[in-house]
Symmetry: D2
């Protein structure tokens, strides 16, 4: 089988399309023929060596994908050849709180990821792909959509009538928009592009804020929401956190997701206790959060927003598209 | 009646002992003869003009106190002359989530506070003083103890077998120690003084970490707690937050309370989402949190740790004691 | 002013239209000109003397209503003559957990209720009427809608993709349907009338079960929901509880609301622990739950389902309509 | 190896000590040499054929036990020969909400249980035995203690100052007493024996109520707790539930555990919604609840209360002891 790997050195130009032996499933495992992969910003950082300085090479990148079961290992019940499945981000994290061990063993680094034609996965660590989605759409869910679900639904218990500020129009951001809308919340979106804001409104956002026109977008969001927003889906990182705090209502939550800005930033923590804010880190989530998401998306036939689909051979171009930052929704790769 | 007030300019030397007309309770109000007051770091900052640049003068400082009901306004049920009561920090915040209006109208700034002989309070905004405590002890509860309770019990749901890292040995810190112990948690305390650590151990702390001997105290706390601590009671602010994050286990909570370091600090937010941390701001809490605390303290006859009691006339010396930072527990003033 | 009162003996024929002195608002109170009232089954039981055997007479019945502020008492901020407001069911229960005192002092028994032309209320115990609703529609909210909100949103944290079984098509039931739909849940409704089921489907129900055709409707609901439903909105009481338990999934919640069947019933509790069910009693809720509801209903322009509106003079006929059980949605009375 | 089995017909006299082939661990499994077993009332009902009419025979009874790892299957990490472990009640239920499949596959019926010399278990479905407990003590934990933990800590979030009413002095009841005390709650216990009440007080109960002397023990408990108790640990079932409801405060929780009275009982549900009670079924809990319990018990060196220990050959006498109802704490069997 073929796989993309970062072979000897980090960087997009370190990606190589290599031929590897076909894997076989051990006891309790499934063999998946990967059909599609979706890119996250974390994958880009991983390839460039910026995510984890201790990551070893070679590495098959990417953690989001969808595939077809082509072989079933010994002792596996409930799965058959031909079933469509998505591997979960942190194999073995099925439910409950995370522990260090789980959070350290994730697809696309340090473990080999989804950007290959065949992969084995523990049967307990996959989720049935939603029936209403094609392979590319299903491939967008395991990290990006589950992260938005964990934040807003599990940790935030978002409810109808609340307001949610979503930063930007990337993958997690648009899933957050869709999930907030499913629960009857009012969504505000920021972007530097009026055209992207128009597309976000078409997806159900109530308000768009162009942060080039409104440098004080945090204050603006707060005003638009009366006392401030109930939730901020913060994917920007250190550079935007101060304004996100300004946008939040007393007792509001800032869901901290982003890896866009990994550096340090001068930060005043006074607003956190003065307004009793919650800053809640989110790192994807366990299998049962994914299953909840699938049930909701199937019921409402929610379709992920796919920005562009690249052929397997063009995977480096997909990373470049993500790096350029001009995308709206998910950048994907069709595999097999 | 007499009152201490910041009269014309901020600063400890701006405090004046003044004579004011005796207040009378309106409908729905109680008149309290203040018996004792307890100081918080916020009070010191308020007097020095560092807490809120827009605070108007004159201002009677302090938000913690206990008194005796000496008159009952029209329409008040359930209170009688002679009852002992503590006013709550944010009058009108009885239960539920805070709103901006409540958080902006708090005792000791912007509203006149407790450092006076007589004060009127809405009857709904006081709590019965615990029967086992004297006036000075009861005066320590409204902010410092309620803050620790809101953090660990209400927002943290601390439980037996968890580990709690408490920074320092000030008022909130020692209440956090006592409250964590009441719930069966294991408590780690930091201090720069071995003698204070010994006293903290006598109060039930399992471990003391002298941060002068252990500059990497965050890492040390994490090791002492296996996977990391479940809760950090963070009163230090920007200067200690990075180490607090290091101490926390994945999914752990950092209860952010402090006003010691109000400045900005370079902060890396990566650990927040990498370890799925919760950074939870705490600003005291509503009346019903205070009532829960009183029930628990009465049941277990918990006594606050009083550092030193000053006479009413010596109030500025009490502030100076707090400013010096050598205290262990609460600095108090006896009023009437 | 005029008022309907149960004068000397219980029963619909004990209702009298009487002339009473106009009330005036005390300090902290508002005077409302009641514009519309909505009936709950509890009101009927109260009038018939079946709700509380110790209820004293005379009694102005009804707890749901909407009115206009016509006078503002001393010391009241935030309200002006002309504002439209709904009194809350349990005056003084603003937020947090209920206590016995609050639950014992509720409108329409033991306290005089809303079925009169003028009433005084504590300013803290009213909620602004939603701007998109007329007086009759607003009058349906304080008990029926807040009960459904407290159950599904506050205690149940209903989320998208979950399934909710709603018993019947009365007031609480249809609000539960609307609220569940706002949060993206799938709703199943029971009724004995295919025509009512068709109307429930028009309001967004996914499935209707005619319990005359399907005596084992609990089992049917469970099958329709796969593993069983996540929530049952149980308004039928003892007669239906066994089937509600059969409908629920392991770990599911039965929100127990009904007073339709106040008698005892033979009940097997084995399913409660075998399936780890939660049976959660709901008695309306505090003011802040009402405010959350108003925000959600305004955002989505949700309109209550009004069955029929009677003139003030016809109030007994309104009670008779409710007693007959043929209504769909709320039975209302226009007052002034 | 030897095992006790219900061979051909239900009943204590259907128990046979049989010789079976030694099992060998498959991939992912551990082989345990069972050292001790503890009996639950469910085990007795199972043996007598009263728990599940469709249970097939033969059946090795009992779900609580502790053993030593004597062989480690292929692919198992983290366990070594000589480690001491307790199997969990519902293999595969590791965290999160239960599902039907998990709740249907439990030890001691329908699956073979712990009353045998050797057993294989999935490595993921065991928990390390607390280091401070001997084998017999460790054997009491998996059902009885985890049930009390799930109820009070996980579902009830019991906190200091709350009151907990515990019915009786059986296994779950005494664990509930110990766990409530660990969290600073005040415990009331009922019994028909003054001697048992004295022993409960020695374990930390604040009040004992002899229900022979106080037939209205529910009302008595409510008075002793002011507004009523916050939690009832209800193990009695239908016969006691009405009084448990009377004991509870508004908003209180009745943790429904018991299988003592599996029959139906006439039950009035009015108090459930009038006092906004929660009746919460509890069926043991997942592995991570067990792990939390172990951490708490180790920290505080909590020792289970062992009523009597029988030799393996005397297992039927142990069942008879349990059936007689005179025990205080856990009835155990030493195995190897």
């Amino acid at each position: 089988m073929r796989a993309w790997r970062v072979e000897e050195r980090f960087g997009l130009d370190g990606l190589r399309l290599v031929e590897l032996p076909d894997p076989t499933p051990g006891p309790g495992e499934l063999l998946l023929r990967v059909r599609a992969v979706s890119l996250n910003y974390r994958d880009l950082m991983m390839v460039e060596g910026r995510y984890n300085p201790r990551q070893r090479l070679p590495l098959v990148p990417c953690s989001d994908g969808a595939g077809e079961v082509v072989a079933v290992g010994e002792g596996v019940a409930g799965w058959r050849v031909g079933d469509r499945a998505c591997p979960i981000f942190a194999p073995g994290w099925l439910a409950g709180a995370p522990d260090r061990e789980r959070l350290r063993a994730t697809l696309g680094g340090p473990l080999d990821g989804t950007l290959r034609e065949l992969m084995t996965v523990p049967a307990e660590s996959v989720v049935r792909a939603p029936s209403h989605l094609d392979d590319v759409e299903a491939a967008t869910l395991p990290c990006a959509a589950v992260t938005a679900w964990s934040a807003l639904v599990r940790q935030g218990a978002v409810r109808a009538g609340q307001s949610v500020l979503v930063l930007g129009t990337g993958g997690v951001a648009l899933f957050a928009l869709q999930i907030a809308r499913l629960h009857g919340a009012r969504v505000l979106v920021t972007s530097s592009s009026d055209e992207k804001l128009a597309r976000a409104r078409a997806l159900g956002a109530a308000e768009g804020i162009n942060y080039r026109d409104e440098p004080a977008w945090g204050k603006r969001a707060r005003e638009l929401a009366g006392e401030g927003v109930d939730h901020v889906v913060e994917v920007g990182g250190a550079g935007t956190l101060a304004q996100s705090m300004r946008a939040a209502r007393p007792g509001g939550t800032i869901h901290l997701i982003g890896v866009l800005a990994s550096g340090e930033a001068p930060l005043s923590i006074v607003p956190v206790f003065m307004s009793q804010l919650r800053v809640q880190g989110v790192l994807v989530g366990p299998r049962d959060a994914f299953e909840e998401l699938v049930a909701a998306f199937e019921l409402h036939a929610v379709r992920p927003v796919v920005d562009r689909v690249f052929a397997f051979e063009e995977a480096p171009a997909a990373f470049a598209r993500l790096a350029a930052g001009a995308h709206f929704g998910k950048v994907c790769v069709r595999v097999g």
